[in-house]
Amino acid sequence: MTVIDVRDVSRIFPMPAGPVMALRGVSLTVSAGEHVAITGPSGCGKSTLLHLVGAVDTPTSGAILFEGRDLARLSEVERGNLRLTRIGFVFQRFFLLPMLSAAENVELPQAEAGVGAPERRARTRELLAYVGLEDRASHLPSQLSGGEMQRIAIARALANRPALLLADEPTGELDDRTSEHIANLFDRVNADGTAILVVTHNPALAIRASRRITMASGRMVE
């Protein structure tokens, strides 16, 4: 089953110095349980593609279908619900809420989705154990290392059992050893059935993917 189907998508950013074409006719499909890595130099359009797939941006032309639904036909509320329940986001800078504990950060999207307190606490315990941080549940992000914060961010992304995990340079702020741990965690998430689309400069992370795509100047080159 195809989770994401990107069809001839272009994205142009209007700039004062003239429009910038970030994506030029990109097409891509990601199937359920697939692990895809996108690599390429800075400014080649990797993150732009990830944002379009994640329904936080809209293409200038072309179409993106998520589980068969055209994102362009969804309202802002429907796109928000899709992001909340079917897509997990992992960011380079983690973006955990600093005033919430690790467990509360994982609970947040579940609470937003209307999951009851007992159920979401159980799911949070399960996810913290999954990422190996059950003993850090009550710690604030400021009390965690970079690697631990990213593991919590992955747990948060998995909270509502998404079909697709999007990761934008997830090891960009981590050392090699910690990056290795995160890569192992992605492998495990993927092995458990979640499709992953990861944008990375890190060859060690990209090599774990079942399919690697290289981009340059807004196009897929291989």
Partner: protein, 398 residues
């Protein structure tokens, strides 16, 4: 996990901004609260003073309440009013300048009140006996300040000479016995007031008959009410200047206190603009500091409404905490300011500028709720329009 929890954690996270906002709002709120107390304080206090005397209708001789002219034919008018079924009590009062002093000592200038028994109520007895129970031919109630200054107490003898201090008179002073010490409802703290019976008053004044009263005070029967009693009085003597307490208060409200209302309205509005600007600025700064965080929240599916609700709660917490703190602060400030303002010469001792009323509290809370919502409006708008992808990109590049 509620928006309130997120908001409370956020305000704790930005401690310096939170303290600044709460203290700022508390100070501004205290000023607002004082303005609200001041806007109606004098009126309430004045109304309370009128009511405390136990009369709800006053007849004056002049064209207005401020004028003090004798009421022509007051004796027959009082008799006619007393016979009305709507009326319970009628009292006559005369007021004049006088001098008073211990025999052989330099006399002091005072205001002397001559009142019938029924008019007792214009003062509160502090010690001794009231005029009605006195047997002396010229019983005297002395104001607290004057009693203290002259060193007199019940039983002391004072010489009363009813005439303005600078006017010579052939009428000899009358020896009066102090029967009690009183606090006069409309007496100034600096003003020396004494009261005696109406009989003693006109004898001390060298008059052959009691003369016309300067003021007639009337208590209507509770089942009739002041409005019906005023109408009945007007029917027996057309053109009589009879005013119920409500009419007196209304007249002062229109003429005497309009300035206070206008000043307090302008100052209240200004203070709330400052509160709005302070909270709106701090919230906007706080939101700008965490745009990346908010964009990430939107990216993971947190709804606009949830973020708006969180910001509204943040505003409510800041404004609410400041607004609550403003109440004791404002009350303390009001007590201090009231003490200063009441030192103005000639003001009735029991008149207050700042008077607490539930209405002021309700207005205070309402204004603060509106301010909290208004202050959150711009940050909410900012986050609602936040371009998620662009903000995330900027955060990474930054």
């Amino acid at each position: 996990m509620t928006s309130l929890l997120l908001a409370s954690r956020t305000v704790r996270r930005y401690r310096a901004q939170t303290v600044l906002a709460i203290v700022g709002v508390a100070v501004i709120g205290a000023l607002l609260f004082d303005m609200l107390l001041l806007s109606r304080g004098l009126l309430l206090s004045f109304s309370d003073l009128l009511g405390r005397a136990g009369f709800d209708i006053r007849i004056v001789g002049g064209s207005g309440l401020a004028a003090r002219l004798p009421i022509e034919g007051s004796a027959s008018l009082i008799e006619a009013i007393r016979a009305l079924p709507e009326v319970e009590r009628v009292g006559a009062i005369r007021i004049q300048g006088a001098t008073i002093g211990s025999p052989g000592k330099r006399p002091a200038a005072v205001t002397v009140i001559g009142a019938t028994d029924a008019a007792e109520g214009a003062w509160t007895l502090v010690s001794g006996a009231d005029l009605g129970s006195a047997t002396a031919p010229c019983p005297l109630l002395v104001g607290r300040g004057l009693a203290s200054a002259l060193g007199v107490s019940p039983g002391s003898i004072l010489e009363l000479s009813i005439r303005p201090p600078a006017i010579r008179s052939v009428v000899p002073p009358v020896a009066c016995q102090v029967v009690g010490v009183a606090r006069f409802a409309f007496g100034a703290s600096s003003d020396d007031t004494v009261a005696t019976t109406l009989d003693a008053f006109h004898r001390a004044n060298g008059e052959a008959d009691p003369g016309d009263a300067d003021l007639i005070v009337i208590a209507s029967r509770p089942d009739a009410g002041s409005a019906r009693a005023v109408a009945a009085i007007a029917a027996i003597r057309p053109g009589v200047r009879a005013y119920s307490n409500d009419q007196v208060v209304e007249q002062f409200n229109r003429n005497g206190f309009a300035y206070f209302r206008q000043i307090s309205f302008v100052l209240s509005s200004l203070t709330m603009v400052f509160a709005f600007m302070l909270v709106a600025t701090l919230l906007t700064v706080s939101v700008n500091q965490r745009l990346g965080e908010i964009a990430a929240l939107r990216a993971i599916g947190i709804r606009r409404g949830s973020i708006a609700s969180m910001l509204l709660w943040e505003s409510a917490l800041l404004v609410g905490a400041g607004g609550l703190l403003a109440l004791p602060l404002g009350e303390a400030l009001a007590i201090g300011l009231d003490r200063i303002l009441r030192q103005m010469p000639g003001l009735p001792e029991q008149l207050h500028f700042f008077v607490f009323e539930t209405r002021a509290l309700i207005v205070h809370i309402t204004v603060f709720v509106v301010t909290a919502i208004a202050a959150a409006a711009y940050p909410v708008w900012l986050t609602a329009r936040l371009p998620i992808a662009e903000t995330l990109r900027r955060e990474v590049v930054g």
